[in-house]
């Protein structure tokens, strides 16, 4: 039955009014509730805008690249089975170099388990790699002890990168590159077979004689053969001030194919629990200073005096540090030629929130931690951490690999925390540690990818596709396809290695440089400082000696130029002090620059 129109309209209006009143009432109630519970702030509070962030994606391509292999862990003396997951938590290392001088970056990748082969992935130049370790003679390095790190360096300046292998409980190995795709083990003749329990090594010319020397960071004491223990008292004796680690080694290159350990003589035989070693000219002296990332206590800074000696300036330069240093890397974030230092430590909410360091170089011989200020302190149980400009916009990103032991659902942190905070417990004895069993310890942690936004950094790992939950260790940044964009090779502990292709949406301009030292400079030009002026801004980089936990990145340098189409100048300060400048370098390509032939 039809209703009169007027009546119908008035009812509609009434319903509408009731509806509106109800809506209003509901809104008021919801707002009331929200204001009581601060939902509004939490919803609309401070969500970061992603619009201004660099737009790139990282795509995992290890299978396509034919590099899909898995790291094998060490299995040590059964007396310490209760802590075996802890003990076997390192060894996944990766080191990049063009070992065959074909213009393509190759990589050595470790495995650590007994008789597990290591890998030398030769870059085929077509997006794939071939494991040639067997033919090269550097595959079988785990018959005794276990491989922990590897670093390339042309110690004899013959133009072919040689390879040094750091091992636990067996002599380290030095392989000379024969220039024909094979290597010769010259450990004995070179006297570089230190038998310790090291985790790090770098090649650098500490005394300016043009020859690369070798610094080795050691962890457990050398008298402890971890496969045949005479004692279970092998651990650090303090969680914050341990100084009972293996002494570090500095092999001076004698220039005749032999080396001499001068660490004790020069006072750089630090007995902190060194996990990584880095070197860079921190004070614009022209000499490379040493930074030791030490576990369970104070990191150490040795200033290079320029006369073949060092001074331990830690007490003056750094605040007291009781953290768990794992990795060290350098970058000039301000274009002033004074590098800042990024050091990874541990962050575990609810247990131990130390935070990573970003040591701002105060230019007066001291450093201040700016990591909390910049938002790059909290990442996880952090390992390999590197500065990198992934999209060549001229701003450094920071990548941090995280995760200690990813195992069962149980969490060892409570036992670890209880042990660490129990006074007077003899913690250096492995038998006093609660059994770990199948428990995880900061497991399944995602990596962090910090990008700069205004005056802070934010973590965009998820958005960028860096989403795996493996226990990352060594992080290698290398431009495998020579497109001016570094890829990421991640050595995961006991897990598949990964190769991330870097795919920015916006292709910025860049300039790539490979240096060859001559005269009194080492041929790899390690330590050379490059300063580019472009668009009214200075950018400074150094040729790196292999800084970064269990890793060595592409030694070539890439300067991101953003939208700039040319540089105004490039100045090179070579390791021997010579300065050369040039300005006429086409961009968006690599240049090989030889010392003495640069200045126009």
């Amino acid at each position: 039955m039809k209703q009169p129109l007027a009546k119908k309209t008035s009812r509609r209006q009434m319903f509408k009014q009731i509806g509106q009143a109800g809506l209003g009432l509901a809104t008021i109630t919801v707002i009331g509730l929200a204001s009581r519970n601060n939902w509004l702030e939490s919803v609309f509070g401070q969500a970061p805008s992603l619009s201004a962030l660099p737009s790139f994606r990282l795509r995992e391509i290890s299978r396509q690249a034919k590099m899909a292999v898995t790291h094998q862990k060490v299995l040590l003396d059964h007396q310490i089975d209760n802590v075996m997951p802890w003990m076997s938590s390192v060894g996944a290392a990766v080191s990049a170099a063009d070992y065959n001088n074909d213009g393509l970056i190759d990589i050595f990748v470790s495995s650590s388990g007994r008789n597990a082969p290591c890998h030398l992935f030769r870059n085929n130049g077509d997006g794939t790699f071939t494991d040639v370790a067997e033919q090269a003679g550097i595959a079988h390095l785990n018959q005794e002890g276990g491989v922990m790190d590897a670093v390339w360096g042309d110690f004899n300046n013959d133009g072919w990168p040689d390879l040094y292998i750091v091992k636990w409980s067996a002599p380290n190995r030095l392989f000379r590159n024969n220039g024909d795709g094979t290597f010769t083990d010259i450990t004995t003749s070179s006297r570089t077979g230190y038998r310790g329990n090291g985790n790090a090594a770098i090649w650098f010319d500490y005394n300016g004689d043009g020859l690369l020397d070798l610094y080795i960071g050691n962890y457990f004491r050398p008298e402890n053969d971890l496969w045949h223990l005479h004692t279970t008292r092998i651990f650090h004796n303090d969680f914050e001030h341990a100084r009972n680690g293996g002494p570090n080694v500095l092999y001076r290159n004698n220039g005749d194919g032999t080396f001499t350990d001068v660490a004790h003589e020069l006072g750089v035989d630090d007995t902190g629990w060194t996990l990584d070693v880095g070197a860079c000219d921190l004070f614009q002296t022209g000499y490379m200073d040493l930074y030791l990332a030490n576990d369970f206590g104070q990191d150490i800074l040795y200033k290079n005096n320029g006369d073949g000696t060092f001074t331990n300036i830690t007490a003056h330069a750094l605040p007291i540090d009781t953290r768990k240093g794992m990795s060290v890397d350098f970058a000039d974030l301000e274009g002033d030629g004074y590098p800042s230092i990024y050091v990874s430590n541990i962050t575990k909410s609810g247990y131990l929130v130390e935070g990573n360091f970003l040591w701002h170089n105060n230019r007066d011989g001291t450093f201040t931690d700016h990591a909390p200020l910049l938002g790059v302190d909290k990442a996880g149980w952090s390992w390999g951490a590197k500065f990198v400009d992934l999209d060549n916009d001229g701003e450094m990103e920071i990548i941090v690999l995280n995760g200690f032991v990813s195992a069962g659902p149980g969490d060892y942190w409570f036992e670890l925390g209880t042990m660490a905070t129990t006074p007077d417990l003899v913690i250096d004895d492995a038998r006093n540690w609660p059994p770990i069993g199948d428990k995880s310890i900061s497991g399944y942690e995602q990596s962090a990818l910090f990008v700069k936004q205004d005056n802070r950094y934010i973590n965009i790992a998820e958005q960028a596709g860096l989403t795996d939950l493996y226990d990352g260790r060594g992080l290698c940044l290398a431009d495998f396809d020579n497109d001016g964009l570094p890829e990421l090779f991640v050595a995961n502990q006991g897990q598949p290695f990964q190769l991330y292709k870097n795919e920015p949406v916006q292709r910025n301009h860049w300039l790539g440089l490979r240096l060859i030292g001559t005269g009194r400079s080492n041929r790899d030009a390690i330590g050379a400082r490059l300063t580019i002026s472009a668009g009214g801004r200075r950018r400074v980089k150094w040729v790196d000696p292999g800084s970064g936990f269990a890793s060595q990145s592409d030694r070539r340098l890439i300067f991101g130029l953003g939208t700039l189409t040319h540089i105004d100048s490039l100045e090179i300060r070579w390791p021997d002090g010579r300065r050369e400048t040039t300005s006429n370098l086409p961009i968006d390509r690599y240049h090989t620059l030889k010392e003495g032939e640069v200045t126009q």
Binding site: T29, R36, E41, I320, D321, T322, G417, T421
Partner: protein, 340 residues
């Protein structure tokens, strides 16, 4: 006269038919259906705004007839004696510190006065004499300990109290030693460094207070000190529930009629609320503080807690509110001082 249908519509009174009655009922039902949720919303909104904001706390039941000694408050009145106003010019003050219980209050006052004039060594000597004259006296022990702490004499502090504890196992002496360990935390590296160092000192403090509370479970000073110790630990180390128990006791004990200073109650409520805040239970935290306000209405420290936005309370583990590395003021004067 015949009526047309249109005339009928105009002139006849409207008599509801059965179908129109059904329509009316239907309309009413629709109305009610529409109005009910709105009424419910209105009622719930009104309830939310008008409901009681303070809910009673769950506190442990205390035995009847607890004595002041049970609470650790024996001789409390002595602690509340005012200090002599001009101790340094008092003719009874010995030229050199004397271990004499009749001079203890004067020497305590003199020690504090000397410290304010920068005469640290003399000041500490008088304070030590006062403490030694009555090792059981919480006040003199406290004044000496806090002075040592404030002058970073942590080793002296530890030596004095550990030696005292070797001879005397009274609760007050042990409490002094336990707090010495808390003071030692200040000698650890600056957080977030030195967290293990701090935690180990806290562990030592807690184990001594465990001993005290095993024998004297209602000692309010020990309860509060142990509760605070637990409160500062990282959340996942499992100390928060222990802190909650101790601080619930502290609040319950603060409500007993005693000689205790009214300055303590807000501290107890604040700390108990902080337990919940640190655990992310924001409403419970606020409820505790509101309970405290009901007891001590003019407490500025509770006001300041209540002024913190709830979203800022959620993750306080690493923040300044009982966060890792925040140093505790171990002075026990809050138990006997006047004012809030």
């Amino acid at each position: 006269m015949r009526l047309t249908s249109s005339d009928r519509k105009i002139s006849l009174p409207s008599i509801p038919s059965a179908s129109s009655k059904r329509r009316s009922r239907l309309l009413l039902a629709v109305w009610l259906l529409l109005l009910m949720p709105m009424l419910l919303l209105l009622v719930s909104g009104v309830y939310l705004f008008l409901r009681p904001r303070v809910q009673a706390l769950s506190l442990p039941r205390l035995p009847a007839h607890l004595t002041e000694s049970d609470l650790g408050l024996a001789n409390w009145h002595e602690y509340q004696q005012p200090l002599p106003p001009q101790p340094l010019s008092d003719p009874h003050l010995p030229a050199t510190p004397q271990v004499d219980s009749s001079l203890a209050l004067l020497e305590d006052a003199a020690g504090q006065a000397l410290l304010t004039t920068g005469q640290v060594e003399r000041g500490l000597a008088y304070l030590q004499a006062a403490a030694q004259s009555d090792p059981e006296n919480l006040r003199y022990n406290n004044d000496y300990r806090v002075a040592l702490r404030d002058h970073q004499r942590y080793t002296t502090e530890y030596t004095y109290f550990s030696q005292l504890a070797q001879h005397t196992h009274s609760p007050n002496v042990l409490i002094g030693l336990a707090l010495t360990y808390v003071d030692q935390m200040r000698s650890c590296p600056t957080p977030p460094d030195g967290l293990v160092c701090q935690a180990q000192e806290s562990s030592r403090s807690i184990s001594i207070l465990d001993t005290v509370l095993a024998a004297h479970p209602y000692n309010v000073v020990a309860r509060f000190a142990r509760g605070l110790n637990h409160l500062y630990w990282p959340n996942l180390m499992g100390h928060l529930p222990l802190a909650q128990v101790d601080l619930q006791y502290a609040v319950a004990l603060s409500k007993l009629p005693s000689a205790m200073s009214s300055a303590f109650a807000p501290q107890a409520y604040m700390a108990l609320g902080d337990v919940f805040a640190k655990d992310g239970q924001v409403e419970k935290a606020r409820n505790v503080w509101l309970n405290g306000k009901a007891v001590v209405s003019d407490s500025s420290m509770l006001d300041s807690r209540l002024a913190i936005a709830t979203n800022q309370l959620v993750n306080e583990e690493n923040g300044p509110l009982r966060g890792l590395g925040v140093f505790v003021d171990t002075s026990l004067a809050i138990f006997w001082k006047t004012g809030r």
